[in-house]
């Protein structure tokens, strides 16, 4: 028989990583959510690309047509990511609640915010995985490209912040939806209004990145700071109140 002493004193962030790792392993074995997210995204991009191509076909002037496709396409990309996120983020707490395993997380001697953060990290990685494949395909089908003079760092920061924001909002919406009987109805009601602020910012930033507005002066940097503020506010507020959703 093993004898042992247990010291429970880890950091909240290490617990969050353990939860995210567990969710990723579970997801890779189920494959259902990642697959349905990717399938939805590809179909949506394909259909939107087809509509965009045929509706701009009448524009004879080629530079004008490219600019129209770039402006509309860069917006459509985030609309697709926004709705794809619904598939990925909505089950993060709802499935734990339905299988009863949320009780296991609630009983663990860890702060509530680390459970929330773990789910945000998981949502971010899952969505990021989908975006790695989705963005190049979307750029091809929606007919836009990032301006060559724009540093890839701005593009990376935009996608990282955007995905993190949607994951933060999506995870909290999923947590708030847990007690509801009509989860499928309640989830979008919570997710849409909260995530729309980020969506508007992301569409505008990506449009600027695609048409190549100068980095200096009011523009991309200011919007990225605004987006960073939104991410920070969403994560901190949600983490602060998350404990109440576990014990209510």
């Amino acid at each position: 028989m093993v004898t042992y002493e247990v010291n429970v004193m880890g950091s909240g962030f290490s617990y969050a990583l353990a939860i995210a790792k567990k969710d990723l392993i579970t997801q890779m074995r189920k494959r259902f959510e990642a697959f349905s997210m990717f399938l939805f995204a590809i179909i949506a991009v394909f259909v939107l690309g087809l509509v965009l191509f045929s509706s701009t076909f009448i524009i004879a002037d080629s530079p004008t047509r490219i600019q129209v496709m770039t402006e509309i396409g860069s917006g459509m990309l985030w609309v697709v990511v926004f709705f794809t996120g619904m598939f990925g983020f909505s089950p993060v707490f709802i499935s734990e609640s339905e299988t009863g395993t949320l009780k296991g997380l609630s009983l663990a001697p860890i702060p509530g915010w680390s459970v929330y953060l773990g789910k945000v990290i998981y949502g971010f990685l899952l969505m990021g995985l989908v975006e790695i494949f989705l963005v190049p395909i979307a750029m091809g089908l929606l007919g836009f490209a990032f301006a060559p003079e724009i540093s890839p760092l701005y593009i990376l920061v935009t996608f990282v912040l955007g995905t993190l924001d949607l994951a933060a909002v999506g995870a909290m919406a999923s947590a708030l939806t847990m007690p509801a009987e009509s989860k499928a109805t309640v989830y979008p009601i919570v997710y849409f209004p909260t995530a729309t602020t980020a969506l508007i910012l992301l569409v505008e930033i990506t449009r600027m990145l695609a048409i190549g507005l100068p980095i200096i002066g009011p523009g991309i940097i200011e919007l990225l700071i605004l987006l960073l503020g939104h991410v920070f506010a969403m994560v901190m507020l949600s983490a602060a109140v998350f404990q109440f959703t576990l014990t209510s």
Binding site: M1, V2, Y15, K103, L105, L107
Partner: protein, 224 residues
């Protein structure tokens, strides 16, 4: 020494009162029965002690820690087994136990030794690397019991722990409780009054959210 101190505890679900002004103390060590019919308030009481529910009135302390003020200190010291195993079906038994070990911040080598030891004791070693979704109800229950014991809790809260267990598993778990009864405390709710009477030192009977009987198990008359 007191493991659980409950004073004037009240909990409602809407207008229905689940627990009404409940007060009692449980000493450190031993096995204590919580009897009562369905809806008597047993599970609500265990959920409050385990910090899963907040009381509407009254005070609950576990080893001197207030469940509302210091829930993490309480959770470090308790192990909970409920009617439903808290396992992830896609993960193997070992992965499930490793995951929970991480949440209890056990070192990898310590966690591995504990998992091997408990798996041996509960006779699940053969199934350690199988996804728990393919296991029988009884095996999943055994893994869930191991999960609750990983951090060597000072207080075990067992809500119908023997339901779903076969005779051998019941015996193994019962022996485990017997071995630990000197320095560990267990609270058991069960509808199996005979088994409860055999393993417990004393009892509390709840009826409609109120304590209607308590004392040494020898004084339990089988009336709930």
């Amino acid at each position: 020494m007191v493991s659980i101190h409950v004073d004037g505890l009240t909990r409602r679900y809407g207008y229905r009162v689940a627990l009404k002004n409940v007060s009692f103390e449980i000493p450190v060590g031993g096995v204590h029965a919580l009897f009562g019919n369905n809806g008597a308030g047993k599970t609500t009481l265990l959920r409050i002690i385990s910090t899963l529910l907040q009381p509407h009135a009254g005070k609950v302390e576990v080893f001197g820690f207030d469940i509302e003020e210091e829930p993490i200190e309480v959770r470090k010291r308790i192990g909970v087994v409920g009617d439903k195993p808290l396992l992830y079906g896609e993960l193997t038994g070992r992965e499930n136990l490793k995951f929970y070990s991480d949440l209890y911040d056990l070192e990898t080598s310590t966690a591995n030794a504990i998992i091997e030891d408990l798996a041996e004791r509960f006779d699940v070693k053969r199934w350690l690397d199988e996804p728990t979704k393919i296991l029988s109800t009884g095996l999943r229950k055994r893994f869930d019991i191991i999960r609750s014991l990983l951090h060597n809790p000072e207080l075990l809260l067992l809500d119908e722990p023997f339901s779903g267990l076969d005779k051998d598993s019941t015996e193994v778990f019962r022996n485990y409780i017997e071995d630990k009864r000197e320095d560990r405390t267990a609270i058991v709710t069960t509808h199996n009054l005979a088994l409860g009477s055999e393993i417990c030192d004393d009892f509390i009977t709840l009826r409609k959210g109120e304590i209607v009987g308590q004392g040494p198990i020898s004084e339990f008359d089988g009336n709930i």
